[in-house]
């Protein structure tokens, strides 16, 4: 690569982008399906080995995910979070930056949302106008906080050469610890026995459309889908997105064509953290209405890694992958109440999905061995 001119770099760049855009989508879907099926089968085997009825387990999974309106609302609630956090992960992974810190950015963003709303609520009129303004301001606060918390490891990577996998994992622990300390002490709501902030006002909530449940609104899902479309077009249709993706996969070529690798890393991490901040804001406003000790909050930012990988880090693919994981989590809530199978199994299955997605060769070889055209196991 020593004497490659800009022209050659450009060709390499184009080839890389072309490969990324039209790499056999079919094969990826097949691998994702096979990975999920294999992971679920192992889960069912474990259930049987542990002495439970696997058929009942599968029935509980289906009923828990899509059984009735309540189950569906719960599935869509989790889906909303998984899609947003999944998109946050996908942005970074696509650019070759391993942001494992979405959980921390999600926590910091959600906490900032609650704090901003609590601070500004007395200054604004009550009612729908105040409610909408507070939600907007709160979301902006979440986006800024999440983005800043994502930018930090980006800067450390770009200018200090600090491996972002490890720094973001450490920053997750730090976010959980610090926010946990804040909600326990300085930010604990007056008279609260539990370590929680005060509740945000009743009128700061999304309208109950279609589903009459307190913690899911179709509006939240709609906002999420808008975010998906915006991010997808940003990545595929703008110069910025193009630079981000190519610098992740063809670092040298991208540098030759004038992309500043360091700035791109920081920008990627910031954008990724901002979307995680949106997820945090949605969680704070739509689901919880206050902030509690993050150690007790779901690990959406971790599961998002599985969601994104399953979607081959494609923001549009994150929607079906998020629905799958939303369904699994919702099934988990159902299983927790209606069955003796320890619900941690669902987390284990998520991990297995990631493991198999990491090894596409496994499925290619099996497919080649068995002479199947597809890659179903």
């Amino acid at each position: 690569m020593s004497d490659a001119g800009p022209g050659r770099a450009r060709t390499t760049l184009d080839r890389a982008a072309g490969w990324l855009l039209d790499a056999s989508v079919g094969e990826r879907i097949a691998i994702a399906t096979a990975s999920t099926a294999l992971a679920l089968s192992i889960g069912v085997v474990v259930v049987a080995l542990a002495g439970y009825d696997p058929a009942a387990f599968l029935r509980n999974v289906l009923v828990g995910a899509f059984g009735d309106a309540n189950a569906l609302a719960r599935t869509l609630k989790f889906t909303t979070l998984f899609v947003l956090t999944g998109v946050a992960v996908a942005i970074a992974f696509r650019a070759g930056v391993f942001n494992i810190g979405v959980q921390g950015q999600f926590v910091v963003g959600g906490f900032a949302t609650v704090v901003a709303i609590l601070w500004l609520a007395p200054l604004l009129p009550t009612g729908p106008v105040g409610g909408v303004s507070l939600m907007v301001v709160g979301t902006v606060a979440g986006v800024v906080a999440g983005g800043a918390y994502g930018a930090l490891p980006g800067i450390l990577k770009a200018y200090g050469d600090a491996n972002e996998i490890v720094t973001t994992i450490m920053l997750n622990f730090i976010a959980t610890g610090v926010v946990g300390y804040l909600v326990d002490g300085p930010f604990r709501g007056e008279g609260n026995r539990a370590p929680n902030t005060a509740r945000i006002p009743e009128y700061v909530s999304l309208p109950r459309l279609v589903f009459d449940v307190p913690d899911f609104s179709v509006v939240g899902l709609a906002v999420t889908l808008v975010v998906v479309v915006v991010v997808a077009s940003l990545l595929t249709r703008t110069r910025f997105g193009y630079d981000m993706v190519t610098s992740g996969h063809q670092t040298a070529a991208a540098t030759f064509s004038g992309v500043n690798a360091r700035q791109t890393v920081v920008a990627t991490m910031t954008l990724s953290g901002m979307i995680a901040g949106v997820a945090g804001a949605v969680f704070a406003i739509m689901i919880q209405g206050y902030y509690s000790d993050p150690a007790g909050i779901g690990t959406y930012g971790f599961d998002a890694i599985a969601v994104s990988l399953l979607a081959a880090n494609n923001p549009l693919g994150v929607v079906p992958a998020g629905l799958l994981f939303g369904g699994l989590d919702s099934a988990g809530s159902h299983i927790r109440i209606n069955s003796d199978v320890p619900v941690q199994l669902i987390d284990g299955i998520n991990g297995l999905v990631v493991l198999f997605v990491a090894a596409p060769e496994l499925f290619r070889m099996v497919a080649a061995r068995t002479g199947l055209g597809g890659t179903d196991e």
């Binding site: 474990v46 542990a50 391993f98 494992i100 450390l156 200090g160 050469d161 600090a162 491996n163 996998i165 490890v166 720094t167 994992i169 450490m170 920053l171 622990f173 730090i174 610890g177 610090v178 946990g180 300390y181 326990d184 002490g185 150690a295 690990t299 971790f302 890694i305 599985a306 990988l309 320890p342 941690q344 199994l345 669902i346 987390d347 284990g348 299955i349 998520n350 991990g351 297995l352 990631v354 493991l355 997605v357 990491a358 090894a359 060769e361 496994l362 070889m365």
Partner: protein, 347 residues
């Protein structure tokens, strides 16, 4: 690549400088230093460092051979959960020391089986090493607490048994060193021996050179007639075994299993990775770095005893913050040249 090379010296110098700076700050702030740096503190720090050091030594062997085992954290969770479950199965309500050692041995054996599967995925099926390693962590986070829930009906175990201290008669009389080294968990001494053995093996034996060559220059090793793939398999399996052992040691020191949150391993596997980066891939350096993190982990108790007002929850974050600082200041380490690349012999 021994203790004498420049990178290691730089690191040693920097570490000593950091400690001196911390001491100076403590004196300036008028902290009762003598009350903080007690023999009990050093003993606790050593115990806390043990699992990190063991996992770190394993991880550096894998990385030296050219395979990044980022799954240390997950293998530690399995090691801890399996040891806890096995102690309970073997020893019931009141397990003995013998039951504990048997459970640890069995748990390490199970870790070896898991790591063989992992190694096959990484080496034979060329799985993405980073993603597969993360997956091990997630699988551990799921199935570790799952195991606990199956065995105890709860993600946390009841009190089981912790390893009892071994007192060496005579040697324990040595001032300062005696109580620290010869009246403590036998696992601390064992870890020190492992660290020295790992150093000798890596830098003073033919096999150690094979491990290094597999990561630095696999072609040359292949030309010399050594099977690169086999060396890598051995190194990765060793790393998983050590991480499993590290988890077992963690449980043996704690005396019970905690599966809530990020489980009782709580990031130690990740800190182990930083420990060997900081230790410049040197087993002794990694052990020393582990001691630094172990000491930070135990600072909380010292703060409480001398009455320094600082919220516990925040003191607990010191090791994580230290990791971020260490990585930023000494981030660009000399990684093995062929790290992460799969190697195919041209036969």
């Amino acid at each position: 690549m021994t203790l004498g090379d420049r990178g290691t010296q730089l690191r040693l110098g920097a570490a000593v400088g950091l400690v001196l700076l911390a001491l100076a700050a403590a004196v300036a702030l008028d902290w009762p230093l003598a009350d903080i740096m007690t023999i009990g503190f050093v003993e606790r720090a050593l115990q806390a460092a043990t699992p990190i050091a063991l996992a770190s030594i394993g991880g550096l062997y894998a990385e030296k051979s050219g395979v990044f085992n980022i799954g240390l954290e997950g293998f530690m969770i399995f090691g801890a959960a399996n040891t806890g479950a096995l102690v309970w199965i073997v020893g019931g309500e009141s397990p003995t020391q013998g039951d504990l050692w048997a459970a640890m041995a069995l748990a390490v054996a199970i870790s070896v089986v898991y790591t063989i599967l992992f190694a096959v995925l990484l080496i034979r099926y060329k799985a993405n090493q980073i993603v597969a390693g993360l997956a091990v962590w997630f699988i551990g986070l799921g199935f570790g607490p799952f195991t606990a829930a199956l065995v105890w009906g709860n993600r946390n175990s009841p009190g089981l048994v912790s390893v009892s201290d071994v007192t060496v008669p005579g040697l324990v009389e040595i001032p300062v060193l005696g109580p620290i080294l010869f009246d403590t968990s036998p696992l601390v001494l064992l870890t020190m021996l492992v660290a020295v053995a790992a150093w000798v093996f890596l830098y003073r034996t033919r096999y150690g050179y094979w491990v290094q060559a597999a990561g630095e220059n696999p072609e040359a090793l292949d030309t010399a007639g050594v099977n690169v793939t086999r060396v890598r398999y051995a190194s990765v399996i060793f790393s998983g075994m050590m991480a499993g052992f590290a988890g077992a040691v963690l449980l043996a020191h704690a005396g019970s299993f905690t599966g809530t949150g990020q489980t009782m391993v709580n990031g130690r596997g990740w800190i182990a990775i930083v420990a060997y980066l900081f230790g410049n891939y040197n087993p002794l350096g990694a052990a020393a770095a582990a001691l630094l993190f172990g000491g930070l982990d135990m600072l909380q108790i010292q703060f409480q005893t001398v009455g320094i007002e600082f919220p516990n929850r925040l003191v607990n974050l010191f090791p994580y913050a230290a990791v971020v600082v260490v990585l930023t200041v000494w981030g660009s380490t000399q990684m093995p040249a062929a790290l992460g690349e799969s190697y195919e012999s041209e036969e």
